[in-house]
Symmetry: C2
Subunit: 164 residues, 2 copies
């Protein structure tokens, strides 16, 4: 597969919520997201890493407009499941590079991380798919990150950036 | 967006590697993935969650054939960066539901988690995109998970399952 990074996208309309210390056994993910779906809260990124000592963290993003409602919903779930904490951050931006054949080229993700690192942008979360690599960063870095990625991947004038 | 879950995909050819306790400051992600790209190791999923106390875990998947080489490469990086541990697991399967409009329907992810939960399948990692929701599970659950998801999303005969 020839890699074609066709664009840079960003989204500042989201907020992230992390439920810290969820028990790692079957049914927990369903218990967290069922009340959110029932409340018609649209969830975008969901990230769960491997667990240590039977606990892991679950982070997801929601539209800024649903942030408070989502936190309240999760607080109830948290108490029921016996999690350690719930953290929220409305001050994030999701920055993505999009293209085909991304997966088979580890170099693309590495290049993206290198570009952000050179600009001193800290990466808070990472999620990848075949057509997209997304990094969550502090919202204040949105323009810097988008411009640096545009230049770094030779995508020409920044004006072509899409919001996603 | 009308949700159309068009299929279930699975991949048992991967292994996962978790670097535990990476320092959460700019440049670390680039430091981890640059040696892997230089060694031409193809990385598939990359998952990093929000950090606690300045440390976070970084998990990624590689083809089973590259597992040992990737662990050796990361061991050197781990010592350089001062991480806590490195864990590997060759016994995993990535199970995905694919379709369009997934993101705007939290119900789809919730339904997937509910189906896996009912079968007693523990979810080790979660990663989502607009067209795909992937869960990493123990490889022994591959067939059970694929069949249950097929039935749960009304996708007809299991034979249509694709490997991805
Ligand atoms: C943490 C959560 O994903 C749990 N392992 C589950 O299967 O629901
Ligand atoms: C952990 C790692 O992602 C780090 N935050 C970085 O920016 O490289």
């Amino acid at each position: 597969e020839q890699v074609v990074v066709s664009g840079v996208a960003y989204n500042r309309d989201e907020a992230k919520i992390t439920i810290v210390g969820v028990p790692d056994h079957p049914g927990i993910a369903a218990a967290i997201f069922t009340p959110l779906s029932d409340a018609s809260i649209v969830v975008d990124m969901i990230i769960q890493n491997a667990s240590s000592d039977g606990r892991t963290d679950m982070t997801f993003t929601v539209p800024k407009g649903d942030f408070k409602r989502a936190v309240e919903t999760c607080r109830k779930t948290m108490e029921k499941l016996g999690c350690n904490d719930i953290r929220g951050d409305e001050n994030i931006a999701k920055i993505s590079i999009v293209g085909v054949g991304m997966r088979s080229h580890a170099g693309v993700a590495t290049k993206m991380f290198g570009i952000l690192s050179k600009e001193g942008v800290n990466i808070q979360m990472i999620s990848t798919s075949e057509i997209k690599i997304s990094c969550v960063v502090d919202a204040k870095y949105t323009e810097l990150a988008v411009r640096a990625l545009h230049d770094g991947f030779g995508l020409g004038d920044v004006d072509g950036v899409s919001k996603s």
